[in-house]
Amino acid sequence: MRIDLTRRVAFLAVTVLALAVLAVASVSVGAQAVPPEEIWRVFAGGAGAEAESIVRDIRGPRTVLACCAGAALATAGTLIQTMTRNPLAEPGVLGVTAGAAFAITLGTVLGVTGSQPSRMALAVGGAALASVAVYTVGRTFPLRLVLAGFALTAVLAGLTLALRLLFPDALDEYRYWHVGSLAGREQTPLALPLAVIVVALAGAVLVTRPLGGLMLGDSVAHALGARVRRVRIAVLVLITLLTGAATAVAGPIIFVGLLVPHLARRPAAGSVAWLMAYTMVLGAVLLVAADIGSRVLLPTGELPVAVVTAFLGGPALIWIVRRHGAVAL
């Protein structure tokens, strides 16, 4: 048991270390490279004005944003996979991301997305409607859940596309947002979405115990003293908040929530609390790494980060499915 604990702590330490290294790399890499000692000087005092503005105004916030969005999406994925006992469940696959994206598109057309709070409210509202709809239809069968999510995503994608074609001018700026990117997002006020994400992540930590009971089946969970209904509602609310906030700032980024829980599940070895901890760190690691990749992979400009996550997540998912089978949970 003790050896087990040591290994788990060691794995967590390694991932946190990786996150720290990647965060430094994320601040230093870009069109104008800032060496690590210059970053140190920005915080210790005595750095040049240019480095100061790059680090404080652009890359620092962007790195924080990537960490939070990655952790949020990955945690949402873990919550939904654990609750539904479905290895294929993910906010992106289940249409929750599409719900948030559609709500923001609609809001843009109606001209009500001017302020950050209104965009947040729209995204969370859209995510809430989508998750309730899909969960109502598909809660009993894993495959039906995915099918319902796929159907809803398609419906919303079709409607979004129709809106974009009807109002091309109003939605030109959303061309990039729709692919999911972190570029330029650091300029918008981020306090509200980041606060929502942090609160929801704290909530996710609180539900780990009852969620562990839920993994054993509803009746066992009930016998263990978990209030199944209440836990389910709480988890749905958390998923909605996490996905809505992440989508409001970064656009629809899928696959982080699908991939990270699979990566975290083996080292966590059945413990929901460790799974949640690994998920948060690994989600941040994945999105920061993908964001760095989006800056350096093309010589001519930036790639939207969702394209990079798709190329990281796709092969990894295939590998997982081939190695462990589709239903290893």
């Binding site: 294929l88 696959v93 709809a133 109502t136 239809v137 598909g138 009993t140 495959l143 039906r144 995915v146 099918l147 319902a148 796929f150 159907a151 809803l152 995503t153 398609a154 419906v155 994608a157 079709g158 409607l159 596309l161 129709a162 974009r164 074609l165 009807l166 091309p168 030109d172 061309r175 990039y176 729709h178 692919v179 899928i254 696959f255 790639l303 939207p304 969702a306 394209v307 798709a310 190329f311 997540g313 796709g314 092969p315 998912l317 295939i318 499915v321 081939r322 089978g325 589709a326 239903v327």
Partner: protein
């Protein structure tokens, strides 16, 4: 069961009565929708005039035969092709989610088309070759990656979803690098559209789809055997390896032929077989009701796409996703209510 036996010389066929009635109803629906689509234009023509024009008489002959008929033909044939391709893959994977649009064949064909446009310019043959190559490469990749001591349906679907996401990301990246005008045009085409279809552009896809339809008809008996499970199919004399290869070829070819001419019209391949089997009350996912349902669905979707936000013409793919997705949601919801 209430089955009819049809005999014509040495050939005989067993036809379920409900399947027969359902097919007749679907054909009638397609004919009605086609007539409505032929009447619809800037002005609404009387059906009598349109029928006259169809025979080459009257003032509206040119409009009906050269402008509206290609589009209606395309909707029927493409819808049927997508529905049939969907049923082929849903049969092979024994999974409703294993249809071409979910496992990335549409996206792969479209990637091929986009590469063909950027590298070789947009000739019709180049587009068709690109679409076919992209679709086949995607199918080969998905099958190879899912293959591990036998193909499991669910694993294939998950691998397909992963490949689909990568290809979709690639496609949107290619579109993003284009200019705004090109990007808007590509956005319309990205959803699949029948706007501006002409006879000249249709000839090649129609030949390809026709040839593959014959192949599919030849395979339909094997498909019924394969639906019984690998062991029973092999025991009843079906060469599974050859059958699967031919079926995949037919399915990919049908999808690619449509994508080359009209862009990736998703969701018909997923929904039409499922609606078709429910209408026909069939045990498996037979190709004929799927094809007929696909034709009716795409025809109706195209009518809606032209009408609903007139004068803006929506890409038909936007409508198929909304209609098909909505119907699928409804079906799922009803299943939940029944328990």
């Amino acid at each position: 069961m209430s089955a009819l036996v049809v005999r014509a010389g040495p050939v005989s066929a067993l036809v379920e009565r409900r399947a027969l009635v359902a097919s007749c109803v679907l054909v009638a629906a397609i004919a009605g929708l086609a007539l409505a689509a032929l009447c619809r234009g800037d002005s609404w023509d009387a059906p009598g005039d349109v029928l006259q024009g169809l025979l080459g008489r009257g003032d509206s002959a040119v409009i009906v035969r050269e402008w509206r008929l290609p589009r209606v033909t395309a909707a029927i044939v493409f819808g049927a092709a997508l529905g049939a391709a969907g049923s082929v893959f849903q049969n092979l994977t024994r999974n409703a989610l294993g249809s071409p649009d979910v496992i990335g064949l549409d996206a792969g064909s479209y990637t091929g088309v986009l590469i063909a446009i950027t590298l070789f310019g947009g000739t019709a043959a180049g587009l068709a070759t690109g679409a076919l190559a992209g679709g086949l490469a995607t199918a080969a990749a998905v099958c190879a990656l899912a293959l591990r001591s036998g193909v499991s349906g669910l694993r294939l679907v998950v691998v397909g979803i992963a490949v689909n996401a990568m290809l979709t990301a690639t496609n949107s990246w290619i579109v993003l690098r284009a200019d705004l005008d090109v990007a808007i045009a590509a956005t319309g085409w990205q959803a699949g559209t029948l706007n501006g279809v002409e006879w000249a552009g249709l000839r090649f896809p129609l030949i390809v789809i026709g040839a593959l339809a014959v192949l599919l008809a030849a395979l339909s008996q094997g498909m019924r055997q394969a639906a019984l499970g690998d062991d029973v199919a092999a025991a009843s004399g079906l060469g599974l390896g050859r059958f699967r290869l031919l079926a995949v070829l037919a399915g990919v070819g049908l999808t690619a032929g449509v994508t080359a001419a009209a862009g990736p019209i998703v969701f018909v391949g997923l929904v039409a077989p499922q609606i078709g089997r429910r209408i026909a009350g069939a045990a498996g996912v037979p190709p004929l009701p799927a094809a007929l349902t696909g034709a009716a669905l795409l025809l109706a979707a195209d009518l809606i796409a032209q009408t609903v936000l007139s004068p803006v013409q929506l890409p038909v793919g936007a409508v198929t996703t909304v209609l098909g997705g909505g119907y699928l949601c409804l079906l799922l919801f009803k299943e939940v209510e029944r328990g």
